[in-house]
């Protein structure tokens, strides 16, 4: 049975195609300000993206019309959103609080949230990873890591 109109527009491929069209159209605007030869390749690619996404959208809608159900992108959306959120939070905390503090919290936190609950294992793994990073990168290679914007004057 064909899906209803709202569901058809919420199919992952349709949403992706619409997203690409919007973003590519947005990027086309600054390309008008470029010299013709400079804009040639980027404009061609952006127009290509728009045309191809339209084709993708039409083919997906045709499938929806024929009653073909879209495969969900993930079986556990909460876990995926959680994983992305934790990765972004780690990057932000590294930027604002500093690398070592964020890493020492992130390793056990991510592992615990996603199912590894051994306190000893988490403590040992965190010490080994953070210690090895300090030894190799900080001590051995003099690599500077972010110290945290919050602590900078």
């Amino acid at each position: 049975m064909p899906e209803n109109r709202t569901n058809r527009l919420l199919r992952p491929e349709t949403l992706t195609a619409l997203g690409i069209i919007l973003v590519a159209a947005g990027f086309l605007i600054p390309s008008f300000e470029l010299r013709a030869i400079s804009a040639l390749l980027p404009a061609a690619m952006l127009l290509g993206l728009i045309v191809l996404s339209l084709a993708l959208l039409l083919s997906d809608q045709r499938k929806a019309g024929a009653g073909e159900h879209a495969t969900p992108m993930t079986q556990s959306p909460k876990r995926v959103i959680g994983a992305f959120a934790l990765v972004v939070a780690y990057a932000l905390s590294t930027d604002f609080i500093g690398f070592y503090a964020s890493t020492a919290v992130t390793i056990p936190l991510v592992a615990w949230v996603f199912g590894y609950r051994s306190a000893v294992g988490l403590a040992v793994a965190t010490c080994i990873v953070v210690g090895t990073i300090w030894l190799i990168f900080d001590f051995g290679m003099s690599q500077d890591f972010p110290t945290g914007r919050l602590w900078q004057n």
Partner: protein, 498 residues
């Protein structure tokens, strides 16, 4: 033609370069043995760490990882029926039944010897075929180079199989990303939106880590896979006792090597296709096809020899033309660029020691597989399967951040990588191929520069792109690659209907 090959040999035996291959092979086996992680991902994560290293050390690590991971994928394939890498799917057919019969140790020994055989054959193919091909490509001018880039992109989009619209979208995205930054000729900003960090363009490593490393980590955290291996029940015997039992597989090894080398050279195909083809051929020609699928060691040999034989051969078009045969080869091209080595004919002329040294490293990496993947090591690698996946995921996230941050020492790159990671995850889930994005980024700037150069030579006349035989041959090949698969489908459909 081959004198440079032997000149490069002493450099390969320099201690640091040799140790790099050893570490690479071990790391590759570890990565390959972990379901969900792949050689592509491992090399993507590794590339930023190699900035400060000598090119041969960095390339040795990559060659080792590639070789090691192709074998490593066989460990969970045999013990758990879970292929560690996509190329190890065919290994499960007979490897797992062997493990069920208590012959898991022997299955892994067959896998490691076959992998080494395939890797050695592939390295020899690279050494023999790449130098003459590079001589031919040295004669190319700007218009031919432009068409080579177009042909490379077309091949990877249309020969990869799947939906060509998605392949084209991926390629357009990659080429678009390649033009972000200053215009190479006029110097004006393109799509930088005032961000100074983007003036030099998007560093390929940021894109590689985002596209190839973040999605597998999310997958690792998304599906908690219960694994558990009791390595004491593998039934492993000494390699010296096991080797005589394998002497009957030489035909399978030769056939599988040829299949793997050929598949590796073809852009877009990969180790899994090579393994399937080799397995099917070996089974078809076997005197006892009924035993296949029930624990036939030759089945493991056929699959493993072919998926390792496509490793170095995938670099033949990559090193000579800048067209990678597989996703890993595409990532390796990125690794070469990081060290200022532009793939293509000039690479052989300007950096013979490095490019030929790299070939030797592939050969030694394959030989090292037997030494490092022996019985004791196999038992240890099997234990890796018990590592908790959430912990592994969190450690990889940290490594990704360190790697990307260390490129320029700025968090902007990390945020950019996360953006590409999100895009990569969506692309992965919706089955948009990722190699065209990488190839688009590598070839986009290259194609644009040569197109503009050709147009300058031709004083703005576009016909300059079609004025010599080589260009016309490349145009014809591009058309054949684009139209070929459709014609083939129609032909098969007609034959079935008729």
């Amino acid at each position: 033609m081959y004198s440079d090959l032997f000149h490069a040999l002493p450099d390969v035996f320099a201690l640091t370069n040799f140790v790099a291959v050893v570490i690479g092979v071990i790391a590759g086996i570890v990565v390959g043995a972990m379901p969900g992680l792949s050689a592509t991902m491992a090399i993507s994560v590794l590339v930023p760490f190699t900035f400060g290293l000598e090119p041969l050390v960095a390339l040795g690590l990559m060659a080792g990882i590639y070789n090691g991971a192709m074998y490593g994928g066989a460990i969970p394939a045999v013990l758990l029926r879970i292929p560690g890498t996509p190329a190890a799917v065919a290994t499960t057919f007979d490897g797992y039944p062997m493990a069920q019969k208590g012959e898991g140790g022997y299955a892994l020994q067959v896998a490691v010897v076959s992998s080494a055989f395939g890797g050695i054959a592939s390295a020899f193919a690279l050494m023999l075929l790449a130098p003459p091909l590079s001589k031919v490509t040295l004669l190319f001018g700007p218009s031919e180079v432009f068409w080579v880039a177009v042909f490379g992109l077309a091949s990877i989009i249309f020969l990869l199989g799947g939906n060509p619209i998605k392949g084209l979208i991926s390629a357009c995205f990659g080429v678009f990303v390649s033009v972000i930054g200053s215009d190479p000729i006029y110097g004006n900003d393109r799509f930088t939106f005032g961000q100074l960090e983007m003036l030099d363009g998007i560093n390929i490593v940021i894109l590689l880590v985002g596209l190839y490393a973040l999605p597998p980590v999310i997958d690792l955290l998304e599906t908690p896979l219960k694994t558990g291996v009791n390595s004491s029940k593998l039934g492993t015997e000494s390699m010296w006792k096991a080797l005589p039992r394998m002497k009957g597989y030489w035909k399978t090894w030769l056939r599988g090597s040829l299949i793997g080398i050929w598949i590796g050279i073809l852009p877009g195909a990969g180790g899994s296709m090579a393994a399937f083809m080799s397995y099917n051929e070996a089974r078809r020609t076997s005197k006892t096809p009924e035993t296949w699928g029930e624990g036939e060691p030759e089945g493991v040999a056929a699959a493993e020899v072919a998926n390792n034989a496509d490793t170095a051969s995938a670099l033949i078009p990559a090193l000579t033309l800048g067209i990678p045969g597989t996703a890993v080869a595409a990532v390796m091209l990125g690794g070469l660029l990081v060290h200022g080595l532009q793939p293509g004919p000039m690479l052989f002329r300007d950096n013979p020691d490095i490019v030929f040294g790299f070939m030797w490293q592939f050969l030694f990496g394959a030989i090292l597989l037997i030494l490092l993947g022996g019985s004791l090591a196999t038992n240890s690698f099997a234990r890796l399967l018990n590592l908790p996946r959430p912990l592994l995921g969190s450690v990889i996230i940290v490594l990704m951040l360190i790697g990307v941050y260390s490129i320029h020492g700025r968090m902007f790159d990390v945020y950019l990588m996360l953006g590409f990671g999100a895009v990569g995850w969506v692309m992965d889930k919706l089955k948009f191929p990722l190699p065209p994005v990488v190839l688009g980024l590598i070839l986009g700037g290259f194609a644009e520069e040569n197109l503009r150069l050709a147009l300058r030579i031709g004083r703005g006349d576009w016909l300059v792109l079609f004025q010599n035989t080589t260009s016309l041959i490349l145009v014809a090949l591009t058309v054949a690659v684009v139209v070929g698969p459709t014609l083939k489908k129609r032909f098969i459909a007609r034959r079935k209907a008729g």
